[in-house]
Symmetry: C2
Subunit: 424 residues, 2 copies
């Protein structure tokens, strides 16, 4: 371990002890102080971002990545507003639960605590710096952040503002640290800093998540990869099914809870598919169909204006993140559930049905962070679920599954009080 | 990845899908069928164990390790009784919680699910095989076990019996698999089987836990290492403090929640220490004292019969697992809390006090899986807490902290139902 990372870890741990005992008012005041400092530092932050963008353009970075990296006055204003809204949320730390009095007179309960120190590793988006800093501060956690090297100047400028906010609020600046040194080995070291860091949150693509899993000795919250299915069961209201399929696919195709594969019970495919294809064609969705679906669609009126082609095997089990949909016919719910088990990433799955037994079976047997009945897959989202904030969407099964809010940035401890009781 | 582990993983995953949808009655029946099979296979299990013990003795294995490896008819009877008692516990799978109806009409709740596939890696104790198999089965999880190579014959014989029980109960034998091939590389492979395995539970010493952390790409529940302090604050009832100190130290000194270091507020040390030392001397406890404590104790009446010696720096922050206690005087609660923060393993800590504010501060600021006020540290235990079963005691902060019962072998998923609702 390098002396740099050892120091960063030790400082974060020290700060975490101070944060852990703060009440809500002190934490909220610090968040507002950070928001104020970000506003004061707007020019410096935007100038640093401009420098990052120039370097990225010179290096031939793709336009969509440039867009993700870009800060504007309006975007910075939204980031600051989001920070202030975190202050409005209830503070989960200190909540008591699972209280019980044991026969020996020991009063026992759990109390919600901060995790301690969170490590956040992210790509491209400088706003994550503010986002994670405020969510961690709200939950009494110190945080060590490492943004992508292409946004290092932006992250450094934001971190300077955050530090000023912390300082004015009387909190240790070590509560929020960023590693901006471009040496990639430092990421590997951060992932092994288990002596100080309690949880790693990766925010980025599948490669980043895999890198963290492979290299971390600290628990990693993986997620964010969605291979998403909607199964139209034979009893579904077909007319009402179409808007759900369209919403799931096109409302925001670039995100993880967008639909990738449509499974249709064979008996209703001839009625459903042409209507669905026509509705999807309006949005320019490329349809990759299995043999049977292609046969039905190719002969339908209007087919010449649709983007139809045969599905390759690789079109199933794939997260498209764009206007592509694969379509497969199945004999019924058994085959649908088996197909999903074989191809899903465990993120979001849905059934459309009027049969209560089918709905019950699907929700019980399908293994995903969220399973919907007669609803769009786009609802699997912390904001939609009313969590107030979303740290990540977890597809692993420990600690937290699905959208993670503030509560999922906490742990608990057991507290027991007795009248000088001993174990027999 | 070897073909062997790939197959083991795939089979476990397949079995986990069947287990996940079982109701309580089917799982309890299977546990009783396993208990019956273990009784029928008693001779074969004991013979295999005898062969393990002979090989271990020939290899010069230490007596305490031999004892942990040993099965007898009485121990096997107790193992079978413990298995049946798991069947009596409530089944957490299927519990619904955190229900909410969103403004758009989407009904949302969480439902408790199995984790999927658990990996258990353990040393020396063959009974863990039955223990973990039944706890996993009860919670609908498939399990892949790897016992120490020194108990491979015992584990194989037990696994054969478990398989027969599963078969008679009509469940897939792949629900409980043991890797008995002695190749140590297979442990490393199991730790990287993240495609199939959801959680790793190590049961053994610090070295095993570290090995799992270093090598796993799967979340590891670490714990079981307890560097445990009791702080006697100045207002404590000193007469009643002594039985707690003795209980915490000697009731079962070989376990993780036993006391290691006694911290005493300087002002009460002259009254407390001689009485405590005399009481501990009865049990043969070796006292390793800081300079001030040694000065007080050396001059006390009866000191010639006590096992007193100066503490080395390494006597603090050490888990003794035996009849040794280190003693240090502190100026008050501030120094006690700082000392614990620097030396604790986050397992179990206690304060003895009559001052409510001190108790409140100690429980809030001390970072451990369980913090006690006026109670023995020996209470940090799943059985004592009424969990019915104990999978492990976790000292990490994600998912579960402190004693883990059946609920901690589960995850949850979100289930949402609507009337064909789409996201705006």
């Amino acid at each position: 371990m390098s002396e740099l990372l050892e120091q960063v870890g030790r400082r974060a741990k020290g700060a975490s002890r101070r944060l852990a005992v703060l009440g809500r008012a002190a934490k909220d005041a610090a968040i507002h102080a950070i928001a104020d400092a970000l506003a004061r530092h707007q020019d410096a932050i935007l100038a640093a971002n401009t420098a990052d963008l120039e370097a990225a353009r010179a290096a031939g970075t793709a336009a969509n990545l440039i867009d993700r990296m870009t800060l504007t006055p309006a975007r910075l204003y939204a980031i600051i507003a989001d920070a202030r809204s975190v202050a409005e949320l209830p503070d989960p730390v200190g909540e008591q639960f699972d209280a019980v009095e044991l026969p020996n007179g020991l009063s026992l309960h759990k109390v919600r605590t901060p995790l301690g120190v969170v490590g956040a590793i992210y790509e491209a988006r400088p706003n994550v710096t503010v986002d994670i800093a405020c969510l961690c501060l709200k939950t009494g956690n110190a945080v060590i952040m490492r943004g992508g090297s292409d946004i290092a100047r932006s992250v450094a400028a934001i971190t300077t503002a955050v530090a000023e906010g912390l300082e004015r609020a009387g909190l240790p600046i070590d509560a929020v640290q960023s590693i901006t040194d471009p040496d990639r080995e430092l990421v590997r070291e951060l992932l092994r800093l288990d002596r100080y860091v309690d949880m790693i949150i990766p925010r980025g693509g599948a490669g980043l998540h895999r890198f963290c899993l492979e290299n971390a000795t600290i628990p990693v919250i993986t997620g964010g990869i969605g291979v998403v299915h909607v199964f139209v069961e034979g009893s579904a209201d077909l007319a009402r099914a179409v808007p759900i399929i369209v919403n799931a696919k096109v409302q925001r195709p670039s995100v993880c809870n967008a639909l990738d594969t449509l499974l249709v019970e064979r008996s209703v495919a001839p009625q459903l598919l042409p209507v669905a294809a026509a509705a999807l064609a309006v949005h320019g969705v490329d349809l990759r169909c299995d043999e049977e679906a292609l046969a039905i669609l190719s002969d339908a009126p209007g087919a010449d204006t649709w983007l139809l082609k045969p599905a390759a095997e690789s079109d199933f089990g794939t997260e498209f993140l764009g206007l592509i949909l694969s379509i497969k016919l199945v004999s019924g719910i058994d085959e649908a559930i088996d197909f999903i088990a074989a191809h899903s990433s465990g993120h979001t799955e849905a059934i459309l049905t009027r049969n209560a037994a089918a709905a019950e079976r699907f929700t019980r047997e399908v293994d995903a962070s969220a399973v919907f009945v007669n609803a769009s897959t786009r609802f699997n989202d912390g904001g939609q679920f009313g969590l107030g904030a979303e740290v990540a969407i977890s597809t692993q099964k420990l600690h937290a599954r699905g959208p993670m809010g503030l509560r999922e940035l906490t742990s608990y401890k057991w507290v027991g009080s007795g009248d000088y009781v001993v174990r027999a």
